[in-house]
């Protein structure tokens, strides 16, 4: 492991680390435009020029300088300040300075670095070279070539990540202009990433343009719920309204990227088809009243027709906590209740899959529910459910989150159906009791992605309408069934889950961290007690 010095601070870094990352580890920020941790190094913006104190010759660019023993750089010399100032001056020569009408304002590297390193008076005597503004080059992207500083991040993204190669720098020198082949448009489903990585206002997101000044937004870390990959996201919100999702860096899952389907799915939070109130046989009622009615029906069915007449379908679209809490609640009150897991995609899933990020399974928690089902040991599949429905023995079926009726297709329906879900669908239409389930970005909890990585959800905005987290609805149902001992908090439910599902042994919700934690592939033979991170009562 090479040891390098940055401004006199010694730091040991992994072999192959470049000096921008090494400096970051030493707590020193080196300004840069073209460098991106998930793209090949281009070295064209020259903003990361540093002085080399020992172990090489300088000045040189930090992005293309690999850490090696004895290398010492300085970023705090007058020479470095002068170089940064000169680079800024060149980058701004032809820049239109249209910040007041530019959507990048507030999160623009040109603005940021100008304030930190530029602050010069224009010495430009000639007319500025102008390029084409407002080019509609894709479903999600507007290109303003005037603002481009030719860093080529978008070119490298199109070449190396999506491998579609639509974007290129045309012409030469100060006439260089970013663009697509005339008459063509971006065709891939990661267009939003182009706006993310553009350090200036050249590529902006059509969906977000002029909706909000970025400095009014607050970001909450969460996880995308549109497929089994579980891309890490920042939920940008203001006053309870979500304005956009942006990928949050997680090198083990989505690097710095996310697909456009997931990115635009923030609209689902305020969609028309959200289930916002509880509904019973008599129409809209309070959540508690509907839960009480459902509990009475569960009791009656179990009493009159035996435990096996009550069933629960776990939800691949619901959190680990919602699933575990529902399973616990029902098993506590009706020990012989039948439990099922019906895998498949709902009709509202988007129809696209690739080998970059978009998984064929469009449910965020199939892996987690499988592990819970495995630990329970008595969970039937779609065939078992079909059979149970066909013989009429299953009278009352509780369904969590998934559009199970749509997934089953033609099937004999149970006498009575209860649906705990976030969006209206065929199952909610057919249900006698409908309970509003809060969306993933509104709750505390976790999803387990297809890799077996348990990733934490934190509420960015309050739950819409009367909707509540799954574990809260489950605890309410348990109470109505006379079971008071079950936890309703996400951390408590996770603690209970981690104590009972071997693959989760030793994990805690707070301990998942920003990057999640893998479940045990080979469950430990002895139980590892999870750390108790619950707040003191």
């Amino acid at each position: 492991m090479p040891t390098v010095k940055v401004n006199g601070i010694e730091v040991e870094v992994a072999p192959g680390t470049n000096m921008i990352e090494a400096a970051r580890q030493a707590g020193v920020d080196i300004p840069h435009y073209c460098y991106h941790p998930h793209l090949p190094v281009a070295g064209n913006c020259r903003m990361c020029l540093v002085d080399v104190e020992a172990g090489g010759r300088g000045p040189d660019i930090a992005c293309n300088m690999q850490a090696r023993d004895g290398l010492a750089i300085r970023t705090d010399t007058d020479n470095v300040k002068r170089m940064r100032r000169s680079v800024m001056e060149f980058l701004l020569v032809n820049h239109p300075l249209d910040c007041p009408i530019c959507d990048q304002a507030g999160e623009c590297r040109l603005q940021d670095y100008y304030m930190e390193h530029g602050q010069h008076h224009s010495r430009l005597a000639d007319e500025k070279i102008t390029r084409t503004k407002r080019q509609d080059i894709g479903d999600l992207i507007i290109l303003d070539a005037d603002r481009c500083i030719a860093c080529s991040r978008c070119v490298r993204f199109s070449d190396e990540v999506t491998k579609t190669g639509e974007l290129r720098l045309f012409n030469r020198t100060d006439h260089t202009e970013i663009g697509v082949f005339p008459g063509t448009r971006l065709s891939h489903h990661y267009q939003g990433c182009l706006a993310d990585i553009c350090p200036v206002g050249a590529l902006t997101n059509k969906d977000f343009r002029f909706q909000k000044r970025s400095w009014y937004l607050r970001a909450e870390p969460s996880v995308c719920d549109r497929c089994a990959t579980g891309c890490n996201i920042d939920v940008d919100h203001d006053h309870g309204e979500v304005f956009r999702y942006r990928p949050r860096r997680n090198d083990a899952v989505n690097k710095s990227w996310m697909c456009d389907f997931g990115r635009l799915s923030y609209k689902r939070l305020a969609a028309e088809d959200r289930i916002l109130t509880a509904r019973g046989p008599e129409g809209a009622e309070g959540v508690d009243a509907v839960l009480a009615g459902l509990a009475a029906a569960v009791d009656a069915a179990a009493r009159d027709h035996g435990d096996g007449s009550v069933g629960l379908v776990l939800g691949t679209r619901a959190t680990n906590e919602a699933n575990w809490a529902m399973l616990r609640a029902l098993r506590a009150a009706v020990p012989g209740a039948r439990v099922f897991l019906v895998e498949g995609n709902d009709p509202d899933a988007f129809d696209y899959t690739d080998d970059l990020l978009v998984h064929a399974d469009k449910n965020p928690n199939t892996a987690g529910v499988r592990l819970i089902a495995e630990a329970d040991g008595a969970v039937g599949d779609a065939e078992a459910l079909r059979a149970a429905l066909a013989d009429g023995g299953l009278r009352l079926l509780l369904v969590l989150a998934d559009d199970v009726l749509a997934r089953l297709g033609e099937v004999r329906r149970p006498e009575a159906l209860a649906f705990f879900g976030t969006w209206a669908n065929a199952t909610s239409e057919a249900a006698r009791w409908v309970l509003p389930l809060a969306a993933a970005q509104e709750v505390e909890g976790s999803f387990t992605n297809f890799q077996g990585r348990v990733q934490r959800l934190q509420p960015a905005i309050p739950a819409a309408g009367d909707s509540r987290p799954g574990q809260v609805l489950a605890a309410g149902l348990a109470r109505a069934l006379g079971e008071d001992a079950l936890p309703a908090g996400a951390a408590g439910v996770f603690h209970d889950l981690a104590a009972n599902v071997p693959a989760f042994f030793g994990l805690s919700l707070a301990g998942l961290g920003a990057e999640g934690a893998l479940v045990h592939r080979e469950p430990p033979t002895e139980q590892v007690a999870p750390p108790d991170t619950r707040p003191a009562p």
């Binding site: 579609t164 190669g165 045309f170 030469r172 063509t184």
Partner: protein, 186 residues
């Protein structure tokens, strides 16, 4: 993709050209390295590199069309606009300039009605000012096709252009130039 045709015709290579392209591509470890020679071939064949021609070249060397355009737009010798049948490239760098290049250029300009792209309306001539063509001892000079016309005077220019107007074919390059090219390829 663009649906436009090049000069009203669909663009395509002949069998023989395709074989030549394969030969060119075989010289490089990566097929995309054949980009410049194939662009050059395309310019010879089609006269200039319209969007459909660039798309054909990109397809031929296996890159996105944007890359063919990016490369073509970098080089001034690759024509992105239609040119006349005879491209008059008059050197205006130091030696030629001192020996009267501007006078030659003004003389040519006065003979025809060139548009903003430097083309005559009949599509016969294109006038270009170019940088040094390494014929400094014999300026002023111009290149037409791959042939050098040296020690130009207005009278000599009139004579040359009259020949072209009467339908004289593009002169072949000087023999030594041929040999030089041959050496490069072998």
């Amino acid at each position: 993709m663009t649906d436009q045709a090049h000069n009203g015709e669909k663009v395509a290579w002949t069998e023989q050209e395709l074989a030549e392209i394969e030969e060119i591509a075989s010289r490089y470890p990566s097929r995309r390295s054949a980009m410049l020679p194939v662009l050059w071939m395309a310019q010879h064949k089609f006269g200039w590199l319209s969007l459909p021609v660039l798309e054909l070249v990109a397809e031929t060397v296996g890159v996105p069309p944007s890359e063919a355009r990016a490369v073509a737009s970098f080089y001034t010798m690759l024509k992105k606009k239609p040119t006349g049948r005879y491209v008059l490239q008059v050197c205006h760098t130091l030696s030629c300039a001192l020996n009267g290049a501007e006078e030659i250029i003004r003389h040519i300009e006065s003979k025809y009605d060139f548009d903003e792209n430097g083309n005559t309306p009949d599509g016969l001539f294109t006038l270009e000012r170019v940088e040094c063509l390494a014929s400094c001892g014999s300026g002023p000079m111009m290149q037409v096709g791959e042939h050098y016309y040296e020690r130009l005077t207005p009278e000599k220019v009139d004579e040359i252009l009259a020949g072209f107007e009467s339908g004289e074919p593009l002169p072949t390059p000087r023999p030594e130039a041929d040999e030089w090219q041959w050496n490069l390829q072998s």
